[in-house]
Amino acid sequence: MSRFSDEEIAAYLDGEGDPSLGERLEARAAEDAELRGRIEALTVDKQAIAEAFEGLLGASPHMPTEALTKAAPLSRTDVWRTPGALAGAAAACLAIGLGVGFQLASYRGDGATRNKMVQEAPLESWRDYAAAYHALYVTDTLTHVADDDAARVRELDRASRAVGLPLDGVRAPIDELQFRRAQLLGFEGRALVQVAFLSATGAPMALCVINSPNAGDSEVALETRRDMASASWSQPGLEFLLIGGRDAALTKRAAETLRRRLSAS
């Protein structure tokens, strides 16, 4: 007799899924106390939630219609690709007090990144989150890490155990990259290790390793994420991301070295 998953139980409670799911689940629940307990553990008062949020509608400010409709004609669909109009759109946004104003301003000076505003993928995958997190790193984040080698080794060991991969190979210099520290993070319940390096020019870089049961072997592939050079690859059960700086050639060399060292270890 197959076991119903928690997702199937939740789908049943939401009136989703195959119509026969409800019938099968109810029939089984009639004679299975454990299943009834699992259904109860996932049953919440949806009506109370809907009602509580109904009250929030009354707190909504009015839509600033006039400011928005005045601002919109300044910036049609292709505005972000037109240097002159871009400044106008930025001014329009600032004029109506939007938090995005500064974003537009920061894009003005750099033609290469201008289209990013409409092209960047949503933050969904673990790589997106790792890249967004790493984008906050500056050189000083890593120059001021305590130089306690024993502590760093202990942390690296802890991280190695978490992802089930010996990471000692990162301690020896890797194509000008100097190991600074390892951190254990997590993403959707999976262990995620971040090993931080500084390049010879002071660029903070990070190797991220995550458990990924369905991953197979793949070669190093270069990408640009959040204006940083990055390289991805995988081996059975694990996915890797090396990210940081803008030197794609260095990232590629370092990724190849890391891939070799970590798969051999």
Binding site: T43, E51, L68, V100, M117, E120
Partner: protein
């Protein structure tokens, strides 16, 4: 009227009615009412700019929710983290206007706090399915995620809400 003009009209005329729900969506997305103001306005501006791309026969609310979702994740969320204050949601006290502390209101606030205590990804999915009444498939489209992810988020959210809402329930009874 050509199709582009029709799209523009539908968006311009429809946004105001959708706005309170869009703002609420942004409150849940960002966890704060000041950020919700920014994201909701930015989403409206973006919707007006891109109005010609809107298919008039489709649903305006889903389209604008999706715009807000992308704006927050791609452009504004990282800034919110950078400017400090983190992205942890604030208490319901700051979300809804002060009202007489009747038992009903206390209960509603406790329920709001319970939902807002969920991780961002779970609470926005809860809003779409439990409050807005979207089907799993529709929520997946708005959030730009696979339907399986909607299911796993809601399952995790249900388990947590079951625990978080216990005190609220007790207080109301």
């Amino acid at each position: 009227m050509n199709p582009a003009e029709k799209s523009r009209d539908v968006v311009r005329e429809g946004l105001e009615a959708v706005y309170p729900r869009l703002w609420r969506y942004c409150v849940v997305l960002t966890g704060r009412r000041d950020r919700a103001d920014d994201v909701a306005q930015a989403a409206c501006l973006r919707a007006l700019e891109k109005a010609v791309l809107f298919a008039p026969e489709s649903q305006l609310d889903r389209w604008v929710f999706r715009i807000a979702q992308r704006l927050w994740l791609n452009e504004l969320r990282a800034d919110a983290v950078r400017r400090g204050g983190g992205i942890a949601p604030i208490d319901s006290v700051d979300l809804i206007d002060p009202t007489p502390a009747s038992e009903t209101n206390i209960f509603a606030r406790q329920v709001l706090d319970s939902v807002m205590a969920l991780p961002e990804a779970q609470r926005i999915t809860v809003l779409l399915v439990f409050v807005e009444g979207f089907r799993y498939r529709e929520a997946a489209e708005i959030l730009d995620i696979p339907i399986g992810t909607v299911m796993s988020r809601l399952t995790a959210a249900r388990a947590k809400l079951k625990v978080l809402m216990q005190p609220a329930k007790g207080a109301a009874e």
